[in-house]
């Protein structure tokens, strides 16, 4: 849990606006970041029904681990810019899919905060992604979409 606290400790006072699931104002002193944001999932349904929600979350859960794996390879090669690029892309997807903890870690990775240890943060991404998957399966079980 130490690494969670390290990953989540950041000041985002310079952010312009916050979406309802924007966790950027939270720090290690406000650890109650939800695993999943049901409003974001309902928003996807509003945009395109259950079919879109299912398509996007399935895609997210398939692609996110691959992106994290790519970031690890980049880190091993010393390519921090590639790690940041992955974090930027995953941040966007996580925000849209209602995965605020994943989003928050990505914000921190993207910011190139020198106090952040990247390898533990990537491990935290794995863990938070697994928690999000479990949350999603429980809160929004897959519908029978034609």
């Amino acid at each position: 849990m130490q690494s969670v606290a390290r990953v989540l400790s950041i000041d985002y006072s310079s952010c312009v606006t916050r979406s309802p699931h924007d966790t950027s104002h939270m720090t290690m002193n406000t650890p109650e970041i939800a695993v999943g944001d049901p409003d974001a999932l309902r928003r996807l349904e509003r945009f395109g029904g259950l079919k879109l929600r299912e398509e996007l979350t399935t895609l997210f859960l398939k692609e996110a681990p691959a992106r994290i794996a790519t970031a690890r390879i980049a880190l091993a090669g010393g390519d921090i810019e590639a790690v940041r690029a992955m974090a930027h892309m995953l941040k966007s997807s996580a925000g849209q899919m209602g995965a605020p903890r994943v989003e928050h870690i990505c914000v921190r990775l993207e910011s190139a905060d020198p106090s952040l240890e990247i390898a533990p943060a990537l491990l935290e991404l794995d863990e938070e992604l697994a928690r999000y998957r479990a949350w999603l399966e429980n809160a929004f079980p897959s519908p029978d979409v034609p």
Binding site: S14, V16, R43, L52, L59, E63, K91, G95, Q96
Partner: protein, 124 residues
């Protein structure tokens, strides 16, 4: 229907935008800048929704190419980006984007309103 070109490398964002815009507009999608630029003349979009953090040629460079073409110099281009810091909006408008929409999309009416406003401006 009016034509919108989406240039966005993130497939989930392309799916999302297609769902939001597909009923009202003819949407074409490209995963990178060079592909989008190559398709401009054939597709003749009335507006472009352009991701900033594209691999290889980024959105700012894609915009520069669009503005350099006399045929598309005045084509409305909206920056679509997850860069949401206080200085980003002004920065991208200064680059020549016509508007700036941040990801994730929370309120689709902001996007739809921006598109509508820019299309009205072109029509005026």
């Amino acid at each position: 229907m009016k034509r919108i070109m989406i240039i966005e490398d993130n497939v989930d964002n392309r799916l999302l935008l297609g769902a939001i815009l597909g009923d009202a507009y003819t949407v074409t999608e490209h995963a990178n800048g060079p592909d989008g630029l190559a398709a401009l003349a054939a597709e003749r979009p009335e507006i472009v929704l352009l991701d900033i953090s594209l691999p290889g040629m980024d959105g700012v460079e894609v915009l520069r190419h669009i503005r350099a073409d006399p045929m598309f110099r005045h084509l409305p281009v909206i920056a679509f980006t997850a860069h949401a810091m206080s200085s980003d909006r002004a920065k991208y408008l200064a680059h020549g984007f016509d508007d700036y929409i941040t990801k994730p999309i929370v309120d689709e009416t902001i996007l739809l309103g921006s598109i509508s406003k820019l299309l009205d401006r072109v029509a005026a």
